[in-house]
C-alpha cells in the first residue's frame, strides 16, 4: 500500500531445469517490496518481471498460502521456511527483511527429496512412510460411537500436538542427517496415544521406521534442529516417544 516505504532486495536463487540438471545459483533483484508483501508475493513480483522480460520465472511449490497445506518449501538463508518461530514460507512476511538485504533461496536438500525443478522437490517419500502404517486399520462404517471410548482432554491434546504436522518436510531439510524422525514420530505418537491406535502400535512403529530407512532418510543423532525448523513446533519429545515405542515393539 502507498503508506508503506518500499525496499529493494538481492535474491540469490537456486535454479535447476530438471532432476538431471546439476543446477546453479542465479541473482535477481526484487523491487518495490512493501513490508506487507508475504515472501511468496515478493517472489510473485519478481516472476512477473521475469516473464515480461521473457525469462523463465522461478518455480516454487505453494498452494494454500496460509500455512496449513505444507506445500511451500524453501530454505531461506540456510534455514527451512526462513527460520522464524512456527512459520511457513508462505506466512513469512517481508517486514522481517530490510532494504538492501541479500537473500539466499534454496530447495529442501536431502537424499530422500530429489529436486524436480528450481525450488521444487519430490517429497513422496513422506507419503510412503504414512502408507507403511500411519493409520488405524478401521473400516468405513461399522465403528462404535464417538463417545464409546473416552479420551481425557490431556491425552487428546497431546495427540493433537503431534497431529498438527503438515507434512512439509522442513524437519528433514533442517536435519544435518536428512532424517525424517520428527515427521514419523509425530504420526507414530498421535496414534500411539489414542486408544484407537494402541492395538497396532508395535507393528506401526516398526513398519514406519523401516520405511524411513528404505526411503533413504538418515538416522537421528539428536541434533534437535528439526524442532527448530518445524513450522508447527512439533516437539522432539515425540521422537523420544517413538524410540520408546520402538523399544516396546522389540519386547
Amino acid at each position: 500500500m502507498s503508506d508503506h516505504k518500499t525496499m529493494t532486495l538481492k535474491l540469490i536463487v537456486w535454479r535447476q531445469k530438471n532432476a538431471n540438471d546439476p543446477g546453479k545459483f542465479e541473482t535477481y533483484t526484487a523491487k518495490n517490496i512493501t513490508d506487507h508483501h508475504s515472501f511468496l508475493e515478493m517472489l510473485d513480483c519478481v516472476n512477473e518481471d521475469l516473464i515480461l522480460e521473457g525469462r523463465e520465472p522461478i518455480v516454487f511449490d505453494h498452494d494454500c498460502r496460509e500455512g496449513i497445506c505444507g506445500t511451500c518449501s524453501q530454505v531461506i538463508n540456510g534455514l527451512p521456511h526462513g527460520g522464524s518461530e512456527r512459520t511457513t514460507v508462505c506466512q513469512l512476511h517481508m517486514r522481517l527483511f530490510k532494504d538492501g538485504d541479500t537473500i539466499y533461496i534454496e530447495p529442501w536438500r536431502a537424499r530422500a527429496f530429489p529436486i524436480l525443478k528450481d525450488l521444487v522437490c519430490d517429497r513422496s517419500a513422506l507419503d510412503k512412510i504414512i502408507q507403511a502404517g500411519g493409520y488405524t486399520s478401521c473400516h468405513t462404517g461399522g465403528v462404535s460411537d464417538g463417545n464409546a471410548i473416552l479420551i481425557p482432554k490431556p491425552v487428546a491434546d497431546d495427540s493433537m500436538d503431534a497431529a498438527e504436522c503438515i507434512g512439509c518436510g522442513a524437519c528433514v531439510a533442517g536435519c544435518p542427517n536428512g532424517a525424517a524422525m520428527l515427521f514419523t514420530s509425530a504420526k507414530v505418537s498421535q496414534l500411539a496415544l489414542l486408544p484407537q491406535g494402541k492395538g497396532e502400535a508395535k507393528a506401526r512403529v516398526l513398519a514406519m521406521t523401516n520405511t524411513m530407512t528404505d526411503c533413504g532418510f538418515g538416522n537421528c543423532s539428536n541434533h534437535y534442529e528439526c524442532q527448530a525448523a518445524c513450522p508447527k513446533g512439533i516437539d522432539v519429545k515425540f521422537i523420544a516417544r517413538m524410540n520408546r515405542e520402538f523399544i516396546n515393539a522389540q519386547i
Binding site: D44, D63, C69, Y135, C138, T140, D145, A156, Q190
Partner: protein, 637 residues
C-alpha cells in the same frame, strides 16, 4: 428439459434406508473387475477412494498437488456438524435437516439434505475410529461449539484445524488402501479433459505436471471431487491451485452446470492489504462465538478502536439480528459488513473492514481461555497483520469462500452424463443458495464415505466392466485436442502475464457479480468478459514449453477456463431475478435490506447445458418440492 433428481419419495425418515435397500449391488467377486477413477483427494475424494478401494473396486486417484494430503480441505478451520445432540440442547437429525434447508434459503432438495443429516453422525464415529483427535473435555467426552446459522451446539472441532485433521484421517484411510494395492495414487496430475464415449463417461485426460506428458486413463466410472470455483474472483480464501477446470471441462463434454451464481462470501477474513495480494486468509467463523462485530457509529471515524467509547460503537449484527446476533448466517453477516462499509463506517485502510472485538470475552473468560480456543487463529492474524488480536480488535472483511453451485447431480450423485459422478464442493447438491458453517466438511465426507459406495454400485451393476480401453480413439482425440490448446497458449507470446488477466477478471467478477449484484452490473460484466477472453487469447504471455514442469502453463489453462465459466456465472445471476442466500440482487430486497425470494418463479435449480464458447447455454430446470419444510421467509431476527 425438466430434470429428474430421482429423489425417493415417502416418509422422509425412511427415504435413504429404503432407497439403499432397493439399489442394485455388485457381487464381491466382480468388484475388482471394475475400474473407478477418482479425481481429487480432498475430503470427498480421499474418503471415496479409500471406501471404494476397501470395497474391492480398482481405484485410480488423482490430485494436482504433490501429495493427496494437501487438498484444500486441509484449510478448513472451524469444525464439522453432526446431529449427535451430545450437549442435549434439543438437536436432532430433523433439526439439522431443517436448519440446512432453511440456511440454504429453500433452494436445495429435501431428500439429499435429509440423507446428509442422517449420516452426519456416522461421520464423527468414523473419524474418531481413524484417530482424529477431536477436542474433548476432561472426562473424555467429545466437545462441541456453536456455529453460524444454528441455535444448537452441534459443531465438532479439532482446535482451529478441523479440516486438516479430518483430511488427514481420510488420507490415512487412503494411504492404507494404497498400501494394500486397491488404490493407485497419481500425484501432480491435472485433469484437463473428460473422455466421453457414446454419451457415457469413460475416463480422463491428465497432464503430468512434472514431465508435461499427456496421459489417458480409462475406467467404468469417473468421480469428480475437485472442489470449488471461487477463485473466479481471483482473491479468495481458496488455495492458489483451486480452479473450475475439472468440472468446466466436464461441462463442456455435456455435464450440466447447476446454480453457478450461488457463491458464498465469508464474513470473517483478513482485509486485503495491497494490489500485489495473491490470496485472502479466512479467520474461522467460530471466532464469532466470542468476538463481537462492530463499526464506529460516526462516518469516516478517525480515532483508533481503543479510543472509541461504547456509546460511539455500533454492534450492527446484535442490533439487526437480536436472536442470532454475531452468529447470523454468513450471507447475512457478510452483507451487513458491506452495508456498514458502503455507509463509510468501515475501518482500516480504504475503509473496507469492520472490527471483531474479543475484549468482552477476554474479560469474561480470561485471555488463556480465548487462546485455548483460537490460539492458532490469533497467531495467524498476527503473522499477517502484525497486530495482536488480544490487545486490539481484529479487522475483518468478507471474502469469496465457497461455491454452492457445481455440476448437477441426481440423488445418486451422478450427473446427467452416465458414469460421471460428482462429489463434495464440486457438485451443487445440498447447500442450496447458501451453505451453513461446518456443513461442507460434513457433505464432503458424507458423499465420500457413505453415499457413493452405495449409489455407484447401482450404476456399475448395470454395465459391463472394461468396455472401453485407454487406446480408444476418443482418448487419442482428447489428448490431441488438449495438447493443441496448450500449444496455442504457449505460442501467443503476448505482452501481459497470466496473473494480470486472472486479476482483471477477478476484480470484474467481485465488483459486478460478488456480494451484491444487479441487472446493470451483470449485463456490463457479460459484455466485458468476452472482451477480456478475446484479449487473453491474443495477448497473454506464457513462458517455457509444454514438455516440462511449467506453472505458468498450468495457470494459463485455469484462467482460460475461468474466462469461459465466468460468463455462465453472470448469466445465471442475471437469469435468477430474485435474491436468495448468497445470491443477492439489489433489485430484490426488503426496506431493511433483507433478501427477497421469489418462490413463484424461481423455486428450481438452474442447470445449464454448454453449447459452445460465445454461444448461449441452454437452461434446464429441476423444480424443487418442499413437503416437509415449509417455504418461509428466512429470518434470523
Amino acid at each position: 428439459m425438466i430434470l429428474d433428481g430421482k429423489c425417493p419419495t415417502g416418509p422422509i425418515e425412511q427415504t435413504w434406508d429404503k432407497y439403499r435397500f432397493d439399489l442394485k449391488l455388485v457381487n464381491p467377486a466382480n468388484k475388482r473387475k471394475y475400474n473407478i477413477i477418482v479425481v481429487g483427494t480432498g475430503l470427498a475424494g480421499a474418503a471415496a477412494a479409500a471406501s471404494l478401494g476397501e470395497l474391492g473396486y480398482n481405484v485410480q486417484a488423482f490430485c494436482y498437488q504433490d501429495s493427496p494430503r494437501r487438498a484444500h480441505s486441509i484449510a478448513a478451520q472451524g469444525g464439522i456438524n453432526a446431529a449427535k445432540n451430545y450437549p442435549n440442547d434439543g438437536d436432532s437429525i430433523y433439526r439439522l435437516f431443517y436448519d440446512t434447508i432453511k440456511g440454504g434459503d429453500y433452494r436445495a432438495r429435501e431428500a439429499d439434505v435429509w440423507r446428509l443429516a442422517q449420516v452426519s453422525n456416522n461421520i464423527i464415529d468414523q473419524c474418531v475410529a481413524q484417530g482424529v483427535p477431536f477436542a474433548r473435555d476432561y472426562a473424555g467426552y467429545l466437545d462441541n461449539r456453536s456455529f453460524g446459522g444454528a441455535q444448537v451446539s452441534r459443531t465438532f472441532f479439532a482446535r482451529g484445524q478441523t479440516g486438516q485433521q479430518l483430511l488427514l484421517g481420510a488420507y490415512s484411510a487412503l494411504s492404507r488402501q494404497i498400501h494394500l494395492g486397491s488404490v493407485k495414487m497419481y500425484n501432480r496430475r491435472e485433469m484437463l479433459d473428460l473422455v466421453v464415449v457414446d454419451g457415457v463417461a469413460r475416463g480422463i485426460t491428465v497432464r503430468n505436471l512434472v514431465s508435461g506428458e499427456m496421459e489417458s486413463y480409462a475406467a467404468d466410472a469417473v468421480c469428480l471431487c475437485t472442489g470449488g470455483y471461487v477463485n473466479v474472483f481471483y482473491l479468495s480464501t481458496n488455495a492458489m491451485g483451486c480452479s473450475v477446470t475439472a468440472i468446466w471441462k466436464a461441462a463442456k463434454k455435456g455435464a450440466f452446470f447447476a446454480n453457478p451464481c450461488y457463491t458464498q462470501i465469508h464474513p470473517t477474513c483478513i482485509p486485503q492489504a495491497g494490489d500485489y495480494q495473491s490470496k485472502l486468509t479466512l479467520m474461522s467463523e467460530s471466532l464469532r462465538n466470542d468476538g463481537r462485530c462492530w463499526v464506529p457509529k460516526k462516518q469516516n471515524e478517525t480515532r483508533p478502536a481503543g479510543q472509541i467509547p461504547e456509546e460511539d460503537r455500533d454492534y450492527y449484527l446484535e442490533r439487526k439480528y437480536p436472536s442470532y446476533g454475531n452468529l447470523a448466517p454468513r450471507d447475512i453477516a457478510s452483507r451487513a459488513a458491506k452495508e456498514q462499509c458502503d455507509d463509510k463506517r468501515g475501518v482500516g485502510p480504504g475503509g473496507r473492514g469492520v472490527y471483531l472485538d474479543f475484549a468482552d470475552s477476554i474479560n469474561r473468560l480470561s485471555e488463556d481461555t480465548i487462546r485455548e480456543r483460537y490460539g492458532n487463529l490469533f497467531e495467524m492474524y498476527e503473522k499477517i497483520t502484525a497486530d495482536n488480536g488480544y490487545k486490539t480488535p481484529m479487522r475483518i472483511y468478507p471474502a469469496p469462500h465457497y461455491s454452492m453451485g457445481g455440476l448437477w447431480v441426481d440423488y445418486n450423485l451422478m450427473s446427467n452424463v452416465p458414469g460421471l459422478f460428482v462429489l463434495g464442493e464440486a457438485n451443487f447438491s445440498v447447500h442450496g443458495a447458501n451453505r451453513l458453517g461446518a456443513s461442507a466438511l460434513m457433505q464432503g465426507l458424507a458423499d465420500g464415505y457413505f453415499v457413493i459406495p452405495s449409489t455407484i454400485a447401482g450404476y456399475l451393476a448395470t454395465i459391463k466392466p472394461g468396455a472401453v480401453k485407454a487406446d480408444h480413439a476418443e482418448f487419442k482425440k482428447s489428448a490431441a485436442d488438449t495438447n493443441a490448446e496448450l500449444n496455442k497458449l504457449l505460442n501467443i507470446n503476448g505482452k501481459r502475464t497470466v496473473t494480470d488477466f486472472t486479476r482483471e477478471l477477478g476484480t470484474l467478477m467481485w465488483n459486478n457479480c460478488g456480494m451484491a449484484r444487479n441487472e446493470e452490473g451483470l449485463k456490463e460484466a457479460l459484455k466485458k468478459i468476452p472482451a477480456i477472453r478475446e484479449e487473453f487469447w491474443q495477448n497473454v504471455k506464457v513462458t517455457g514449453t509444454g514438455a516440462e514442469f511449467n506453472q505458468q502453463l498450468e495457470n494459463a489453462g485455469r484462467t482460460a477456463d475461468f474466462l469461459e465459466f465466468a460468463e455462465l456465472m453472470c448469466r445465471d445471476s442475471l437469469h435468477r431475478n430474485e435474491s436468495c442466500g448468497g445470491h443477492f440482487r439489489t433489485e430484490h430486497q426488503t426496506s431493511d435490506g433483507e433478501a427477497m425470494r421469489d418462490d413463484v418463479n424461481y423455486c428450481y435449480s438452474a442447470a445449464w447445458e454448454f453449447k459452445g464458447v460465445d454461444k448461449e447455454p441452454e437452461l434446464h430446470k429441476e423444480p424443487l418440492k418442499f413437503e416437509h419444510v415449509h417455504l418461509a421467509v428466512r429470518s434470523y431476527k
